[in-house]
Structures are given as C-alpha cells and as structure tokens.
Symmetry: C2
Subunit: 207 residues, 2 copies
Amino acid sequence: MYLRNNITRLLQYRSCLTKFQELGFETIYSYNLGKHIGVSAEQIRKDFSKFNIRGNKKAGYNIEEIITAINKIFKKNSPQNVLLIGYGNLGQSLMKYKGFSGNMFHIKAVIDIDPSKHKRKTLIPVLSPEKAPEIIKKNGIKIGILAVPDVAAQEMCNLLIKAGIKGILNFSSLVLKAPEDIQINNINLGNELEAIFYHIQLKQKTN
Amino acid sequence: MYLRNNITRLLQYRSCLTKFQELGFETIYSYNLGKHIGVSAEQIRKDFSKFNIRGNKKAGYNIEEIITAINKIFKKNSPQNVLLIGYGNLGQSLMKYKGFSGNMFHIKAVIDIDPSKHKRKTLIPVLSPEKAPEIIKKNGIKIGILAVPDVAAQEMCNLLIKAGIKGILNFSSLVLKAPEDIQINNINLGNELEAIFYHIQLKQKTN
DNA sequence: GCATTTATGTTAATATAATCACAATAAAAG
DNA sequence: CTTTTATTGTGATTATATTAACATAAATGC
C-alpha cells in the first residue's frame, strides 16, 4: 500500500534504529526492521539501496552506518534555526515541544502580531512581524513554522518568503500560495481526525 | 506528483469550497478549484467522479452539492466524541484547538497518568487511565488522540484498543503495534520539519 | 576448502496514481 | 433551430511505487 513516501520512511528507520542501538544492537536485518515499522523487507532494501546504504550479505546492515548515512542525507550535522510564527495556543505548545526544541532544531524567535505577547528579554524572544526579516536574515533561517489563524496565514507566509524563508510548516487549514521553489508542508489536525473516521467506517463495512 | 491521497484531497476541497460559498459563489469549475488548491483540474474531476459527485457539462459543479456529498462520505451529520490521552504540553494545546473542539469533534474527556492533573468537575474532565474504558464504552468513543511521551505510548495504545477504540491519532514518534483493523494515523512534528529541510536542499541543488 | 545457508541487492512484474486526450453534452450565441 | 463554445467524464497513456523473484555473495558448518 501507498502509505508513506521514502523520505518519511527514512526518518522512521532512523528513529527505530536509534532505539535498537540504545538496546545494544549493532546490526539489523531488513526483515527485522521492517517488522518493527510495518514495512516489507524489500521496501527497506530498496530504500537503502536508493540512498546508497549498503549492507553485508548474510550479516545484515550495520546500525551505526545506517544512522550516519541518514543523518548525512538530512544534513544533520548542526542544529538548524527556525522561526515560529504565532504565539497563540498552538504556537506556545510548539515552542515547548521536545521534537522541535530538542537537539535538532532551535526556535530562534517567535513572531506574533499581538503587542501584549511581546517579550524581548526571554531566551526565545516574542517579537512583532516587522522584526521577522531582520531575524531571518541575521540567523540565516530557512524554515518557518506557521501557527497562526487562517485569516493571517497567507499574509505571514508572504512576509516570510519576502524575507528569504525557503520552507514552511503550515498548521493553518489554508492552502498557501507561494512560488514553486518554496517547500510547504501542511499539517491539518482536523483533517487527520476526519480521515481516521473515514478509514474506520471503511474497515467496518468491508468486514 | 504524489503529494496527497484522494481522501485528504476531498477534505481540502470541502475546506476551500466552504470559503467560496461564504463569498457568495454557487457553482465552480474543476479548473478554478484546482488552481486554488494546487491540483490539476483532471485530478479533481477524477476524484469527484470516483465518489460519484456529478457536475453539469458547461456549467460546472454546484458547490452546495459537493459539500453535502463530501460530508456524506465522511458521515458528518453529528459531531463525534473523541478521547484525548495526555494532558501535558501538547495535550492541553490540542484540547483548546479549534479544529478539534469546534463543531466537528468533541473531546469527551482527557486521560493522564499524573493524579495532580486530574479534574473531575470541569467541562472536559481530566481522569486517570483506569477510567478510560468506562468513558469509551459509555460514550461509544471510536477514536483516541494519543499525545503522551513515547515511553507511555504503546501501553496507552493497548489500553485504548482493549476498551474498544478503533482509530488512533498518534503524536508520539513511536510506530505503534496494533491489530490490522485498528486505524492509526501518525503525526510526527519533528519528522515533518526534517522533511522540509531535505526538500529545500534538493530544490537548491537542482537549481 | 567445499557445501550449505541466508541475507542482500537488483531486475522484472505488478499495482496504483496522475496526466493526457478526447468524446459527450449542456449552455450560449447567432 | 443550428452552430459554437466550454466544460465534464472517462478510457488510454504515462509515471511512480510496491512487491515478487532470484542471482549474488558473505558467513557458517563440516
């Protein structure tokens, strides 16, 4: 089935392999990794092969090697600065979120239109939209996390792109209009839930 | 390109069409809708055709009809009860999130293992895991939103499935093990960000 | 050191999705 | 009423992804 694309799968492989590594394993077979992730062994070998990750016939893959290779694919040498736009309910949660604020990403600043939310002296400052271009340029920020209400999303998107941002993680339910060379990934929480409902119904029908 | 599957697209169509409707439009052409969403007109006609949504040659599609049809596909007659597991940083944010707590979904209760977080008298009560089965059965809840740390995710998943839950929206970075008939959708915020980085690099290389 | 075993890596086959091309047809124009 | 025009709906084509099949090679056992 067509559930995930190979880029997403690579990240899942790494996440799973890190856990195996912590448990003391040094090598793994495509079959075992696949069973843990819910992907066929052939799929894993194909993915590895495509990104030139090589194993040892009979002895499987070296976990350390795979992780290093995947990190290289994602250029995971240094933590990357990102800009968070929107310091509302979701924005505040994302700021504290471990997956973002952990070792891989660093939220350099938060942008919000509401002056009462601005804080200049905190570890992660909350600033007005006018400050965004300066922050983006000074820190070479490439990615913005857009967590603002739909009504403000396109305007903030335009501002970010004008300031040099190349990728946006969009939490609004709007389909943002942007040039071809800007990478936009959408997370629509409401739609995800509805999709689950749909699939549940489908499964119940077929049984 | 293979960006979204047709179920996700249907939800995007509805979201966009609702906005058109609010602006006073009554009909729409596949071409216009496609331009707004970033999908080809043929794709839209194929999707509509597949779900038996019919238009009028030369006059396009009736917006009201499409929305009604999509709602029917997703059984959007009555709001659905869901259970939120995890009242931490992300969980609290999700509880207040409009897309969930709006008119489509109703979070009936929140489950958290930490007794200091329990609140029985609030509009949405925060309860211990032991209460989950009762709540699920009494309210016919089919879906759980899992927003707990990785270490607790599988255990809570098992609890939910045992209590009769059929679908899980999983925010942990774990790949949950569950029977085939349980629908699990994963949202991994960290991976989403990394995927954007990858795509940006790719685009820069090819230019 | 040779045979056996078992995993990889890749080519071929299959399945699925997106795009193209165009016939069908409803509305509008003349 | 006839012709023109524009849009739908779908079969054919192309592209992409997944699965199957199997040759290859490393490790193990004898």
